[in-house]
């Protein structure tokens, strides 16, 4: 999994994703500088900066410090814009007068847009993208576009939707964003609420990348990588270095550690019980364990903690059979108490079946409502019925699941299961 080594370099003299990463940083800094209503202006200056690099570097060679080159050219772009029309921009800032005088313009821009402020700027930008006035899917789209430097077609591919849909989301997101004013890192009581929505955006982003039932693997890996990077960004800042952030990162890392083993060489889904555990990334699991132990500092216990503990019990189990299903069941009991969703109940039923047998698992399944249209529910039901020796009913459940999925990979998996029930007879 390349996702974790976020700042890897390659042999082509230029780090992978350098333009994308630096675009995200520059947009964050420039938006803080100009204020939220000038987001498009910030994006334009950054686009012009990348264009200059694209045109000049092949002729003149890649600069010794490409990041510094980009940021310098972007600052000069800002100075140009201000020189042309500082008053027209109507900047919300105390020292606006300094930006209107040629005496002080350049010095002010260079000192306000300095490299040491970049991580704060990214954090401010992230909180702004996750502001409650934006809907969750708008938050994710805007963060990917501005903070992570993805293009609209790339975001559309990551979400398996049309560019038009993403453009609409971004349009509405920008409208709300422009009204925010100056970008701030929330403090005190406000921080708790706002951090919650930042974390759920990261988790949403991660799940979007992780649920590999659809195509476009490369872009999905980039999305996973960004989710991990944004979470790390929170941990790098004293204000947001909190146990629940460690819990979320641990949770994502445990999943990432197992991601290679979930798909075989033909691109087919491999179920947890059939996965080759030697393919799991032990170094990542160790890193996950480390974050999980840091997550346990303090009193706070969130659903991320529970999900991370469940993921760690799976990741640290030597075999499927030796998995501590009893503890997992208890964690799901607690998780269901905190977040009573049918998906949690479904996962709980699977754990119950491992501890007390398929019939007890089926009892639990029968109590779940709201998943009738989800193929996963019927697939799990089919599995438990098959294990209980009720092949005829299992077959019907798998057929039902097949009718509900459009994913070719899920389709292939369910067809395989269906065949095993047919071999086994009624």
């Amino acid at each position: 999994m390349r996702g974790v080594n976020v700042l890897e370099s390659n042999t082509n003299e230029l780090a992978d994703h350098l333009f994308r990463r630096e675009a995200g940083k520059m947009v964050a800094s420039l938006t803080r500088f100009f204020g939220s209503k000038h987001l498009e202006l910030a994006e334009d200056v950054v686009q012009d900066t990348l264009l200059k690099a694209m045109q000049e570097w092949p002729f003149k060679g890649i600069p010794d410090n490409p990041e510094a080159w980009l940021h310098r050219v972007a600052r000069n772009g800002v100075i140009d814009k201000l020189r042309r029309d500082a008053r027209g921009l109507d900047l919300l800032r105390e020292n606006a007068v300094l930006l209107r005088s040629e005496w002080t313009l350049a010095a002010t821009v260079h000192s306000e847009l300095n490299a040491s402020a970049i991580s704060d700027d990214q954090l401010r930008m992230f909180f702004a993208c996750c502001h409650p006035s934006l809907a969750p899917e708008q938050q994710v789209a805007l963060a990917l576009k501005t903070l992570c430097g993805f293009g609209v077609p790339e975001i559309a591919r990551a979400f398996v939707t049309s560019e038009e849909t993403i453009n609409k989301r971004l349009y509405r997101a920008r409208e709300a964003f422009r009204a925010l004013g100056q970008l701030e890192i929330p403090q005190g009581a406000e921080l708790n609420d706002r951090l919650g929505s930042v974390l759920s955006t990261i988790y949403l982003l991660f799940n979007e990348g992780y649920n590999a039932t659809r195509h476009e693997n490369l872009i999905r890996e980039d999305v996973i990588e960004e989710a991990l990077r944004l979470c790390q960004l929170l941990l790098d800042h004293p204000t947001t270095q909190r146990p629940e952030v460690h819990a979320l990162l641990a949770l994502m890392i445990f999943h990432a550690a197992r991601s290679e083993a979930r798909i075989d060489t033909d691109g087919a889904i491999v179920l947890l019980q059939d996965q080759d555990r030697s393919q799991w990334d032990r170094a990542l699991i160790a890193l996950g364990n480390e974050h999980l132990s840091r997550a346990s500092a303090g009193e706070l216990f969130t659903t991320y903690h529970l999900e991370a503990i469940i993921a760690s019990l799976h990741a640290n189990a030597i075999t499927y059979a030796s998995t501590d299903w009893r503890s997992i069941t208890r964690m799901y009991d607690e998780l269901f108490r905190m977040k009573p969703s049918p998906i949690v109940a479904l996962n709980r039923a699977i754990a119950v079946a491992e501890v007390d047998g398929p019939l007890r698992g089926l009892d639990e399944l029968d109590r779940i409502t709201g998943l009738e249209q989800q193929h996963l529910f019927h697939a799990v039901r089919g599995d438990l019925l098959q294990r209980a020796g009720r092949n005829r009913e299992a077959r019907a459940a798998f057929e039902h699941a097949l009718r509900l999925t459009s994913s070719p990979m899920e389709h292939e998996l369910l067809t395989r299961k269906l065949q095993t029930t047919e071999k086994a007879g009624p």
């Binding site: 690099a53 694209m54 790339e154």
Partner: protein, 114 residues
């Protein structure tokens, strides 16, 4: 050996390209030019800014550029050394500009007769 000028028109549209695409495009150009430079065939070259002025007629009427649709605007030039026009044309075939519907015009630099 003779000199030839490559004139580049069109190519990647930066308004609709993502940073990732721009980086990939930049790297392709760099690799292409590095190859020309390391074989000693690249003599000079510069990218050109958008915009500029156009002066026409006896009255030197001045109009602002860009002068036409972006795919017709010259975005840069190279001077290369090659054995023949055919060789120079072959060199231009590997230019990354074609991946983005751009064009290369290959022109022999005139040799002054003594």
């Amino acid at each position: 050996m003779s000199k030839y000028m490559f004139l580049f028109r069109g190519g990647m549209n930066p308004q609709t390209s993502s940073p990732e695409q721009m980086q990939a495009n930049m790297m392709k150009w760099k690799v292409w030019m590095d190859t020309l430079a390391s074989s000693g065939q690249m003599l000079a070259g510069e990218p050109l800014e958008g915009g500029g002025k156009l002066l026409t007629g006896r009255a030197r009427k001045i109009t602002d550029g860009p002068f036409a649709e972006s795919k017709e605007v010259v975005g840069g030039y190279l001077i290369v050394e090659a054995k023949s026009l055919d060789d120079a044309t072959d060199l231009s075939k590997t230019c990354p500009i074609f991946e983005n519907d751009g064009s290369v015009e290959v022109r022999p630099v005139q040799v002054m007769s003594m």
